[in-house]
Symmetry: C2
Subunit: 575 residues, 2 copies
């Protein structure tokens, strides 16, 4: 479709693989390494899981859009991973799914160089990776001379491409001559090919750099690219342009012949939404039946899927609790990749990172994923990468408070809202009823460069007067009625999103929270941490600053003091 | 050593295994299931990782304390895990380490019942678990009839015990007849042994319950334990007492013959610290050289290991960056399990959960583990379990801010301090110099039922006047000097721990932060989220509410406005 390359900081290693892949004549290569999408060292294991998402994106689009006479979607996803990535649990989660889905166009190079920061991998990593990957349903190839065995690597790439029903791991045994410039990293120095002469943990001095250059036969100045190297690489520039032109011509043909499909595919490639898409979102009135926001969420997802060709996603084995099934579609599986319900299994971390890969594959993909809100703890590193690399993943997080029944404190989020409100470039949305849920989805879909977490309830909530999809301000409580009966003037404000509120004008903020009103009470079934910003020095924050407990929702709310009576009492103290 | 049982909610399954283990005549069994330590459904995968920690604890103590004539430490660790646990990456991390360490006394039953919440495991989990575990270095046994093949299970337990150099996975193929009472869970109903007759996702009604009881030949009232069942189980009560008496006699012998070792072992078993242990902590004066708190941390760890027989731990492949090596000791490895430096590899999540297992093995174990602070994101679920099940793990988290060099925003914590300050039952400690680091360790060691996170710097920090191990109040800034020069009265307060401050008396809090002083400025190289509680409505919080960037520490601090000048300017606005 297009060429997407992400350079690796393991430059020597990555460049070698990259060159050989380019040489292999791939029309299009998507390429990731253990580096992340912002150009720095990435958190280990994220890259391979992103790659699984990219390969899923290709397989899905190919199944939906390819025609016998025009295979418009057709590219490989390459990934380089190291020992550290292999040790991280996220890579096992994602690779288990890649095997399950039979992602035949995913080719991963495992740079098996036996080196970790703390020393030889022997000290902590002696498992048989080949056997594990065979268990995960991968095709495994072993390249024994990763340093100079170019023909071996070329043959491995060829073999990998011939295997269509399984992803391939090319385990490349290499001897490291990596140099790190950072003063807290180790460096390695080999005098001869494959023979480790010296190893130390200190920074390399000028003397050692010189000796290493000599050993490697590299007589050039720093940052100098010799002409022959430049020549070898630069022919890929016109080659790439030619490949792009070829693809564009192919797409023009496709567009003529398959108008409808072409428009849909184009929307996924460009990220342009169809005009008026948001009108499909359901609306509610105070007469609409009370419902849990997780159910309202499902109504929104099933409405949106009709107008968003790139919407797809699923849950980490809680689809029927998170209410995330798209009823018009079947499961994305090895033999039904055109479907849109993704079954992630109990693999939250892998799920988040795979969704990052999907989101980054094409701007019009709108991936969503789901679990209980408390289990964002399992996938937090992937969520942070969504925020950092601007992947607009929608996190559908249900069971958003202690009101979830008897599963108890391991399943009850307390600090999670606060913890995400503190995370940059992420929208933490907690809608209170139908219209706010629809509004939250509108915001989430529009924010393609900012991930959203929707915290949704398991309990039924009434539809409130004054809420709207567009509005932010809303009224939402019972306690106010009590106080009003006593002649107090009370305003109830529902804070769907702290981030969106912060982004409003000062005048708007003042209109919602007038500064002369210092008698403020916040109530949230979660940690009070952070609420002092809203209630001010003279206000009071009601919440839960301990772990939850195992009890029915009504009982636990009462036990923890989350009742209209408690709010009334707190408010009266402030008047 | 002692019997520690944690009942499973998969009662039928767990009880069956448990009974057979008891029957096998184990002197001591430590038993975990996929449930956590507080009696509820645990987050999946934590249990098996805890079990690895428990088995590590046994292997370590056995190596240190057993004598040819008295093997005082000698027990198996049993664990039951399900498909969900197998899918979670944490279990792969922990099981990879168990294989690496050759934890021969770890025996895990994998209840391979092909059922997940969303349906048959076929939809998301088709990997070959046997092969994967063989790759991880485990001995794998397959019990084909897990429902009634008791002899098969007995034989498997016997075989597992005969394998001393590898952990064993007993894959038990079972057909489920699990009943869940919660209305959002599925239930399964089999009419005959092994034959699935009906499956639905709704709650079971009285009629179905009756039919199931009939099918299973269970004529009793709810909660009734028939006499023969009671008889079968109750003989374990006197048996257990006899085993305990036997062990006590053995220990009495041990104590007489190996006085010194017995005292040490006793301290680990009881958790009683030797009097005056805290005197070993280093102290500093303003004349002590400026140093990074990560280095000061290492001085503390190496001092503590001399007086805490249960101190052991390590890093997730960053020992030389986190400064966590205990210099008097070698590596805990398969053949050197008596050593105390644990090499976790790049497996943060498994590391945290393994440390929970170590902590819960014996109250005198003081496990610590380390990585960069930002990578707490990878292990947050395990840290939450530390807090929830009161395991006093010490989390040594270095590189605590944007001041860590060129690794960039993926390695720079922003929201992490706030996110942990919001977590219940956890001490978030951020010492500012030598004495505060020692004080933080004192607090962490004393809090055996509350985990601690120490956020430590990579940069050198000066030792400040007025700090002490015992004190909380301290002075810590440059900006204050500027303001004082201009005749302002300024107090600089270092907030080592918000939680400990909260626990102080109102009078103390007022003495540190007098309420009449409303001109307050907070400064922290992290999210400002939550600081409004401290600075009040009229104060100002200086921090970083965006992701970091790649630059040397000095440059990035300046760029982000974290300078004495910025603090002076903010303060002046408030006067």
């Amino acid at each position: 479709m297009r060429i997407c390359t992400i350079a690796s900081r393991f430059s020597r290693i990555a460049l070698r693989f990259w060159k050989l892949i380019c040489d292999s004549g791939d029309r299009v290569a998507i390429f990731i390494s253990r580096c992340d999408f912002v150009g720095h060292f990435g958190p280990l294991g994220q890259g391979i899981a992103n790659a699984v998402g990219l390969a899923l994106g290709e397989k899905h689009l190919a199944a939906r859009f390819n025609k016998p006479d025009n295979e418009i979607v057709d590219h490989y996803t390459y990934c380089i991973l190291g020992d550290g990535c292999q040790m991280e649990g996220i890579s096992n989660e994602a690779c288990s799914l890649a095997g399950h889905w039979g992602l035949g166009k995913l080719i991963a190079f495992y740079d098996d160089n036996h080196i970790s920061i703390d020393g030889d991998t022997e000290i902590a990593f002696t498992e048989n990776v080949d056997t594990r990957f065979e268990g995960l349903g991968w095709h495994v190839i072993w390249v024994k001379n990763g340093n100079t065995g170019y023909d071996e690597i070329r043959a491995a790439i060829k073999e990998a491409k011939a295997v269509n029903d399984k992803p391939t791991l090319i385990k490349v045994r290499s001897f490291p001559y990596i140099l790190f410039g950072n003063d807290n990293h180790h460096w390695l120095w080999v005098s001869e090919q494959g023979k480790l002469v010296q190893r130390t943990w200190k920074c390399m001095g000028a003397k050692e750099v010189d000796a290493t250059r000599k050993n490697l036969g590299w007589p050039y100045e720093p940052f100098h690219v010799p002409e022959d190297v430049k020549g070898h690489w630069s022919h890929h520039v016109p080659q790439g342009a030619a490949l792009e032109a070829e693809w564009n011509a192919k797409f023009a043909e496709y567009e003529q012949k398959y108008k409808e499909e072409a428009a849909e595919l184009k929307s996924i490639i460009t990220g342009e939404l169809s005009a008026g898409w948001e009108k499909t979102l359901p609306t509610y009135t105070p007469d609409s039946p009370a419902d849990a926001t997780r159910n309202l969420s499902q109504q929104n997802l099933n409405a949106l899927v009709k107008v968003l060709p790139g919407l797809l996603g699923g849950s980490a084995d809680l689809a029927s609790s998170n209410m995330t099934l798209l009823k018009m579609y079947g499961d994305f599986q090895k033999d039904t990749p055109e479907e849109r319900n993704v079954r992630f299994g109990v693999r939250e971390h892998g799920m988040g990172a795979i969704c990052n890969g999907i989101a980054l594959h094409s701007p019009g993909f709108v991936p969503y994923c789901a679990t209980f809100f408390v289990f964002t703890d399992y996938m937090r590193a992937a969520i942070r990468i969504s925020a950092l690399c601007e992947a607009g993943v929608i996190y559908v997080m249900t069971h958003d408070s202690i009101g979830l029944g008897e599963d108890g404190p391991t399943h009850q989020p307390i600090e999670h809202l606060a913890s995400f409100r503190a995370m940059p470039n992420l929208l933490m949305l907690r809608p209170a009823d139908g219209n706010e849920t629809a509004g939250a989805y509108m915001v989430a879909v529009l924010n393609r460069k900012r991930p959203s977490i929707l915290a949704l309830s398991r309990q039924k909530l009434p539809n409130l007067p004054g809420t709207s999809i567009e509005g932010v301000e809303k009224i939402a409580a019972k306690a106010a009625d009590e106080l009003k009966k006593e002649g107090k003037t009370v305003r109830v404000v529902s804070f769907v999103s702290w981030e969106l509120f912060e982004e409003q004008s000062d005048a708007y903020k003042e209109s919602v929270l007038p500064s002369f009103v210092t008698a403020r009470v916040s109530i949230e079934a979660a940690s009070t941490f952070g609420w002092q910003k809203i209630v001010g020095s003279k206000g009071k924050a009601i919440g839960i600053d301990r772990f939850g407990a195992s009890a029915p929702a009504g009982k636990i709310y009462k036990e923890f003091g989350l009742t209209p009576e408690a709010v009334v009492a707190a408010a009266k103290e402030l008047f």
